[in-house]
């Protein structure tokens, strides 16, 4: 039969998911033995033409990380979908949009203006912006088109499996790779390499069912050890985040950020978290409630930190946005 052929690709991402694969550590040689890694731009010398030359479904499994930010990302997503039997959205960016997805709170114009003109460290007296096509003495240069909206992988192609996390933890990644190698993946469309409950299920901090009388940033509080961080006023997304990471962050005294995305019963992570927090604000006085809520200066950025493109909100309406 031959060894399974595996591909890894990175779209709009930070590179952390590539490291996450490497993080399987001494299981990496096991992977290299058991599978043929045939396309991995981060770690191998490959060209897009190599991919284009493959037959359809030539690749057995592709782990695709990163969001769809520009035309290159989308083209590669389409190509890898065609050439792969199984396409896995690996990591939060591909799964729900993650940090790149927060760009959906601004417009394309805002991004270009900030990056190339108004950022304090930029020297661009001619206000030159990148173009898709540029004439140079050497010929015409083509750059990928920057999209106004960040998409998740499944918003541009059919996705077979999702592995959540920013990044997915090493043990869960290995479980997924093993399942791929053993052929024991569950039915298509599932989230794999994660739990089916919320982070609280894996967290050992004690809950006392108290309300929230104020929000405080983690570095401004010496938290009571072994006590639920959310109840102490530190925003912890664990109540509305899928389990699987082993509650890593709370176990070292940092609140969960929500990177494993929406739990199984939820189609909009941010909305559910807002609703839950609203239920336990410890005040019925409007002025007092306002004061408590002022402890969260950017609700959209906080509650939708990892899931904005995948949520009902999807993006902020700005002039000139194209769906």
């Amino acid at each position: 039969m031959g060894k399974p052929k595996v591909a890894f690709y990175w779209a709009a991402s930070c590179g952390g998911c590539e490291i996450a694969v490497l993080d399987i550590g001494d299981r990496l040689p096991v992977l290299a033995e058991a599978a043929d890694i045939i396309f991995w731009p981060c770690a191998m010398d490959v060209k897009y033409d190599d991919l284009r030359a493959m037959e359809d479904d030539f690749i057995d499994v592709c782990l695709f990380n990163g969001a769809i930010r520009n035309s290159e990302n989308e083209e590669m997503a389409g190509l890898l979908r065609k050439k792969s039997k199984i396409l896995v959205a690996y990591g939060s960016c591909a799964h729900e949009g993650c940090i790149p997805g927060l760009a959906n709170l601004v417009s394309e114009e805002d991004i270009l203006d900030r990056s190339y003109i108004s950022a304090p460290s930029v020297e661009n007296p001619g206000n030159v912006l990148p173009e898709v096509k540029t004439e140079t003495p050497e010929g015409e240069l083509e750059l990928p088109e920057l999209y106004d909206t960040v998409y998740t992988l499944d918003q541009v192609v059919d996705v077979d499996y999702y592995v959540p996390g920013c990044p997915p933890v090493a043990d869960r990644t290995w479980e997924v790779l093993e399942a791929i190698l053993d052929g024991t993946l569950p039915g298509k469309g599932n989230v794999v390499g994660a739990g089916s409950k919320i982070v609280c299920d894996e967290c050992s901090l004690e809950k006392k069912e108290t309300g929230i009388s104020g929000f405080v940033r983690p570095h401004l509080l010496e938290p009571e050890p072994d006590r639920c961080l959310l109840e102490q006023g530190v925003y912890c997304a664990g109540i509305g985040t899928r389990s699987g990471c082993g509650a890593l962050c709370p176990s070292v005294g940092m609140p969960c950020r929500g990177c494993y995305g929406a739990p199984p019963g939820v189609f909009d992570q941010g909305a559910k978290i807002v609703s839950a927090l609203g239920s336990i604000i410890d005040s019925t006085d409007p002025d007092e409630t306002d004061a408590i809520m002022s402890g969260i200066p950017c609700p959209a950025g906080l509650f939708y930190r990892f899931s904005l493109p995948h949520s009902i909100l999807r993006r902020k309406i700005t002039d000139g946005y194209e769906d």
Partner: protein, 651 residues
């Protein structure tokens, strides 16, 4: 796919004059799964309901939408009809296109489009509805009546006579309430005590009534049919189980405590029985005024008691009882004179209120039935009665009418004339409201036969001038201002809820209206029930009313209780919250948000659990759950999302 039938009601012109109901039926009929859609003039009528039953059978419907008025009105009507045709009642939903559409819009085109979307949203909801079975709970056939005034007494007797056990809890040492303070009752001028005490005695003797006076409800938990109540019996420092009620202790007590029963016109000892006809006729010791408790001395009562019933070491006792229903008959109070700043603020000695005048009239009162004014005991010759003292005054006091004052003021003036033949009563009034049976005739008797002067106008100011009390008022029928130098002024003060009623409302988790009176489930059609299952209302705690109304309402409340007890088990709405054990991660946020204490944390399983019988389906826990583990039956997040999508035009 579910076979859905849609019935759009005209509601006569209520809906059809604004919404094109035929178009609604037509458009909704195009939706996938909607196999039957029609409009009809009055869906709630017999033929309308017959139509629903007929089509369920003919078209083999799995679900029905009735687009009509609010579900508050006819949801149960139609669900019953559906049940009769073999459809699970919870597969029938009402789409409100009247209160939420035709009654609040006038643009026919837009209202019709909105009605279409409302109905489409309900179709989407119903697609995912599950068939449910009512939750069946057992019933404890024992009632708790809170309050031992005439309403509480009547309710207790009616329930006890029907063969069920009743616990009657009363705060004061004796039952009787305000009716025991009255001299004669209108319109018959029956002696109040004479008609009340037989009922009080009947309560005291009734084999089915556990009478707990000097007691208050401390805590209540549970749900209809299954309440657990804690009752605190205050320490009386007298052992009632051996006390014979001889009264010798009350005669030797040297302390002088103002009698609240006599509206502070007389005093009694620290050990006292509130009035001679008290039931139980046993004394209590008022610890705050007792010399022995204050200084360690005296103890005369203890020495006098021949059987050693005085027990200074007695403590409060807390009793636990299981009951199935609660009747709240907590009674009323009157507006304190201190609130009526323009009428002397309670500092003018000869300005008193109606209840105080009753004590002066009463043969067993502080003046043995002689009318004598408080300042110097003289018999007053000029008495001014001021109606609406604090009532019908939205700007400064109470906006409502206190209902009983026109009758009792007329009664007071009449009785005063009977006692003081040369006395002159004046009544300042805005209107004379005498709507009860025999009441108008009573008023005419007073007006025509008894020489009482009725002056139509409000009293502006009452103040002391030397030994006289000056009343400044108006007579609008002559257009003149009036000054009367009165010997005695009686204010018909507003009827208000007792302070303890507000505490009771919080403890029992029931509702009070904006004026503090207990809120009935429906002002017209459900006057004796609270909206909270298992709680019934009787008497002036629900609103100002006279004795016949209190008695009637008490009988009504008793009837509701008896009806509850006559069932085998209680069936409750199953559209409650539930917890998916596979999703709940034990964050516990839902536990504290439940207003009905229906949720607990299961330590072993590490998840939240719901008591279905306690759950009222309010949805607070569903909002609080960040992971979707708690959902409401037939109103899940997915159903709501689909309803919103349909309401927004369906993309």
């Amino acid at each position: 796919m579910k076979r859905i039938g849609v019935f759009v009601c005209h509601c006569g012109i209520n809906i059809a004059s604004t919404v094109d109901v035929q178009k609604v039926a037509e458009e909704v009929g195009k939706m996938p799964g909607v196999v039957f859609a029609t409009d009809y003039i009055y869906m709630c009528s017999d033929p309308g309901q017959a139509l629903v039953r007929e089509k369920i059978r003919e078209e083999n419907l799995d679900a029905v939408i009735v687009a009509a008025c609010s579900p508050n009105l006819h949801e149960s009507t139609f669900r019953t009809a559906a049940g009769e045709a073999g459809l699970n009642p919870w597969q029938l939903e009402i789409a409100n296109i009247r209160e939420q559409c035709s009654w609040v819009h006038s643009d026919r085109e837009k209202a019709t489009e909105k009605a279409i979307r409302i109905v489409k949203a309900m179709v989407e909801k119903t697609r995912l509805n599950e068939s449910l079975d009512p939750i069946s709970v057992p019933i404890t056939r024992k009632a708790l009546v809170i309050g031992g005034g005439i309403a509480g007494i009547q309710a207790a007797l009616d329930i006890a006579d029907a063969g069920y056990e009743v616990i009657l809890v009363e705060k004061e040492p004796s039952i009787g309430g305000h009716m025991a303070q009255l001299s004669e009752t209108f319109p018959t001028l029956d002696c109040s005590q004479c008609i009340l005490t037989p009922k009080m005695v009947a309560v005291g003797k009734h084999g089915n009534i556990e009478l707990m006076t000097y007691s208050t409800v401390e805590e209540i938990s549970g749900y209809v049919g299954n309440f657990t109540v804690k009752i605190r019996r205050k320490a009386a420092y007298v052992d009632w189980s051996i006390c014979t009620g001889c009264g010798q202790c009350t005669e030797v007590c040297p302390a002088k405590v103002p009698s609240s029963f006599d509206r502070n016109f007389s005093t009694h000892g620290a050990v006292y029985v509130p009035f001679p006809q008290a039931v139980p006729n046993k004394p209590v010791i008022d610890r705050e005024h007792c010399i022995h408790f204050k200084t360690g001395k005296c103890g005369l009562c203890e020495k006098t008691c021949e059987i050693g019933a005085i027990r200074f070491d007695q403590e409060d006792q807390v009793f636990r009882r299981e009951v199935g229903a609660v009747v709240v008959a907590a009674g009323y109070d009157t507006l304190p004179l201190s609130e009526l700043k323009e009428y002397g603020a309670g500092r003018v000695p000869d300005v008193i209120d109606g209840l105080a005048f009753e004590r002066l009239l009463s043969a067993s009162g502080p003046t043995n039935g002689e009318i004598r004014r408080p300042s110097d005991g003289k018999v007053p010759k000029e008495v001014v009665f001021v109606q609406c003292a604090g009532s019908r005054d939205p700007e400064r006091h109470k906006p409502y009418c206190s209902k009983i004052c026109c009758m009792y003021t007329t009664k007071h003036a009449l009785l005063y004339r009977h006692r003081v033949h040369d006395g002159q009563p004046y009544i300042f009034y805005i209107d004379i409201r005498t709507g009860g049976k025999g009441y108008e005739e009573f008023y005419h008797r007073a007006e025509e036969d008894e020489g009482i002067i009725y002056l139509r106008g409000k009293v502006a100011k009452i103040f002391r001038d030397g030994a006289e009390t000056v009343v400044w008022g108006t007579d609008t029928l002559t257009g003149k201002n009036v000054e009367i130098r009165a010997d005695l002024v009686v204010l018909a003060t507003a009827v208000i809820p007792r302070k303890s009623t507000a505490r009771l409302v919080r403890k029992l988790h029931i509702q009070a209206g904006p004026n503090g009176f207990l809120a009935e489930a429906h002002p017209k059609l459900r006057p004796v029930e609270s909206i909270n299952s298992g709680f019934y209302l009787a008497g002036a705690a629900q609103g100002p009313k006279d004795i016949p109304e209190s008695v009637a309402q008490a009988g009504g409340a008793a009837c509701k209780v008896i009806s509850l007890f006559s069932r085998n088990r209680l069936e409750q709405d199953p559209a409650v919250a539930w917890v998916d054990e596979d999703l709940c991660g034990g964050c516990r946020i839902c536990i504290s948000v439940c207003p009905y204490d229906a949720r607990k944390f299961d330590e072993e399983k590490g998840i939240a659990v719901v008591n279905e019988a306690l759950c009222e389906g309010c949805g607070s826990c569903v909002a609080a759950c960040a992971c979707g583990a708690t959902q409401q039956k037939n109103l899940t997040d997915v159903q709501i999302k689909n309803m919103i999508t349909a309401s927004l035009g369906g993309k």
